[in-house]
Amino acid sequence: MKATARRQWAEWLVTLPSFVWLTALFVVPTLLVFAITFRAPTPDGGFGKEWTLTTFWSLGNPNYPAIIWRTIWVSTVATLGCILLATPMGYYLAKADERRRRWVLLLVILPFWTSFLVRIFAWKVLLHPDGFLKHALEWMHLVKPDTTLLYNVWAVLLVMVYTELPFAILPIYAAAEKFDFRLVEAAKDLGCGSFRAFCSVFVPGIRVGLLTAFLMVFIPSLGSYVVPDIVGGPTSEMLGNKIAQRAGPDRNLPHAAGLSAILAVTMLAPLAGYMALRKQGTPGSDLMEKGA
């Protein structure tokens, strides 16, 4: 009895620092951001002491639903693109021999050694109307001379997939490495072709990795600001750009806080879905559902 109590106390003690850290530096600021939404803006870019609902009502601006919608679909497509590319990659990495695997993993991580901003500017150069990629595609007659590759939503998608891909590959690879490839053999033995075996056994086998990859890519994508700012045009603005605009040039901190709150709530949705899925995945509920 006494030993159990002491162990619990010890467990509590070691959890305490991270708990304090999260509360002080994550939960409290988030709640503060929520609260600032209900303060009045001051001309110097700060916020006043009185409470008001003005900002809250102004969030109903008819421009916002379109931007929110674009933020969600661009993030979703970018995430799915990453997962689609990363899954075969994870399969390959898990099957490859040690030497090759180390090299490929190094290549996956290599881009991180270059500044994020530099890499995005590099894309701007590539996609530029006078850029190498544009000329190459033109020479191959794949694009017309008057097509613009830059400053549209497709450029944003392309660069987002490029920047986020490693974050999808790594969790998928981690799951694939633990995957029992004898199951693929078993599926083939039972009549599956290679592709079918891949889809019906490998993909469900790494579903935890896929979910993690989804969250790892989707959540940062929702908040992306730099990519649409540099390679996207005014028609491909995302919520992140609007927040920056409100907080910076517009000097309206409560408004920026309100948009951030919307973004935070949007991010909670997939997390809640993830939790629900995991809960459903536990054996008990599954049994009850099917047995009934």
Binding site: D180, L183, A186, K188, D189, L190, R196, P283, D286
Partner: protein, 430 residues
């Protein structure tokens, strides 16, 4: 009629290692055929080549007259039970069994009927919606069997299917496998390193070593008449004696009428260091002066406290009991004679307590018939290493070896079963 399943001169190399070295073998329809050998003998490679997971470097594989060597796994009418079962963890028992039929796009009603029939066969109707991680090892094994059999394969491939089970479960699954084979009547190709399993299940066994077939035959043939010392040592227990072949034994024409079996056979004297001359059956016509290895199974010895009477072709030696292991249905003795420590097994067919027991340090006589000793070529150190088992497996294998010996030693199955009970391993089947 050509053979049902045929390996024709099949070879497979991994780098410089010859996993399978020009193996040819034929399996009859409906047969329970085992590939038996130590790890690395090529048995699993052979199985995987039949399953389509490996391509042979040379040779062809034929199934029912059709050359299947180049077919992908999913086009072969064979199914495999993997050593690890390889059940799909994200699917229920029901869906695991239905997997092959769903892939083959069979009608829903047929799938339902077949799966339910299989569930009934493996007696797991009430566990159909459980996931593989919620059922026991033995149940997983049964699901794996059902998942393969539901597709009605021409050949069922079993890759060490019992290796992951504990001893009692293994014995029970052994019986179940046997029943299932009788019930479905399809060809089973069984890969194992456990001679006990192979002996008790198979119609025929191919003993493999270093990618080659060492001996092929019925379990009794392989046990009773091993062709090489490797087979003798790998299958069951045996005693080896080193000796030099001496002159042939004169034919005892005078007794020909009394022992007709001995009339035309050829017996040789064998000089064994420390034991003197012993007489053995020389079917291989081994010439005088050759070094050979004499193999005698423990149960072929008759052990007694009094000197047994002399009979033709009977060898008698004297020794001291070094150890006695009572096993219920039988007793195992270690008898020291000369530099040899001889393993002797004695079946108890009479009520033991009436007899005067043979105790530790007793002077005893061992007697065996010349026909029961096999002269084999000497086996080298490499073989000895192959035969060695990891320490944790020795105990289990001993028990199975005893079972196998009991089965092969013409003991009625009922008696062998009773033996288990007496040995304290009772309650195998609840």
């Amino acid at each position: 009629m050509s053979e049902f399943l045929e390996f024709r001169d099949v070879s497979k190399h991994y780098g410089a290692v010859k996993a399978v070295d020009h193996v040819s073998l034929e399996v009859k329809q409906g047969e329970f055929f085992s590939l038996l050998g130590p790890s690395g003998c090529g048995k699993t490679t052979l199985l995987r080549m039949l399953g389509g997971f490996e391509q042979p470097d040379t040779g062809r594989i034929l199934l029912d007259g059709q050359d299947i060597t180049d077919l992908p796994p999913y086009e072969r009418k064979v199914n495999t039970i993997f050593q690890s079962y390889a059940l799909f963890p994200h699917l229920s028992v029901w869906d695991n069994i239905a997997f092959g039929l769903k892939v083959a796009k069979r009608p829903k009603a047929e799938i339902k009927e077949s799966v339910e029939k299989m569930l009934a066969m493996i007696q797991m109707e009430d566990q159909a919606w459980k996931k593989p991680d919620q059922i026991s090892g033995g149940q997983k094994q049964r699901v794996a069997i059902a998942r393969a059999l539901v597709n009605k394969p021409r050949v069922l491939l079993l890759d060490e299917p019992l290796a992951a089970l504990d001893l009692k479960l293994r014995q029970r699954m052994l019986m179940e496998l046997d029943l299932i084979h009788d019930e479905v009547g399809i060809t089973f190709l069984y890969v194992t390193h456990d001679q006990g399993e192979a002996m008790s299940l198979s119609d025929r066994i191919a003993v493999l070593r270093g990618g080659k077939i060492e001996q092929l035959g019925t379990p009794a043939k392989i046990y009773e008449a091993p062709r090489t010392s490797f087979v003798a040592a790998f299958i069951g227990d045996t005693n080896f004696f080193d000796g030099i072949v001496a002159e042939p034994v004169e034919k005892r024409t005078g007794l020909a009428g009394l022992w007709p079996a001995a009339q035309n056979t050829d017996y040789s004297q064998l000089k064994v260091d420390g034991l003197g001359d012993v007489e053995c059956y020389n079917d291989k016509k081994i010439k005088e002066g050759e070094y050979v290895c004499l193999s005698i199974r423990p149960e072929k010895f008759q052990i007694s406290l009094e000197k047994p009477e002399e009979r033709p072709h009977m060898n008698v030696i004297r020794g001291t009991v070094d150890d006695v292991i009572y096993l219920g249905s039988q007793t195992k003795y270690w008898v020291k004679s000369g530099e040899y420590r001889i393993s002797v097994v004695r079946q108890h067919s009479k009520f033991l307590l009436d007899e005067q027991p043979i105790k530790w340090q007793d002077e005893v006589w061992l007697r065996w018939h010349a026909d029961d000793g096999f002269m084999l070529e000497k086996y080298n150190e490499q073989d000895e290493n192959l035969i060695q088992l990891p320490p944790e497996e020795v105990g289990e294998t001993d028990q199975l070896a005893i079972d196998a010996a009991a089965a092969a030693g013409e003991v009625a199955p009922a008696e062998a079963g009773a033996a288990d009970g007496a040995a304290g391993a009772d309650g195998t089947v609840p």
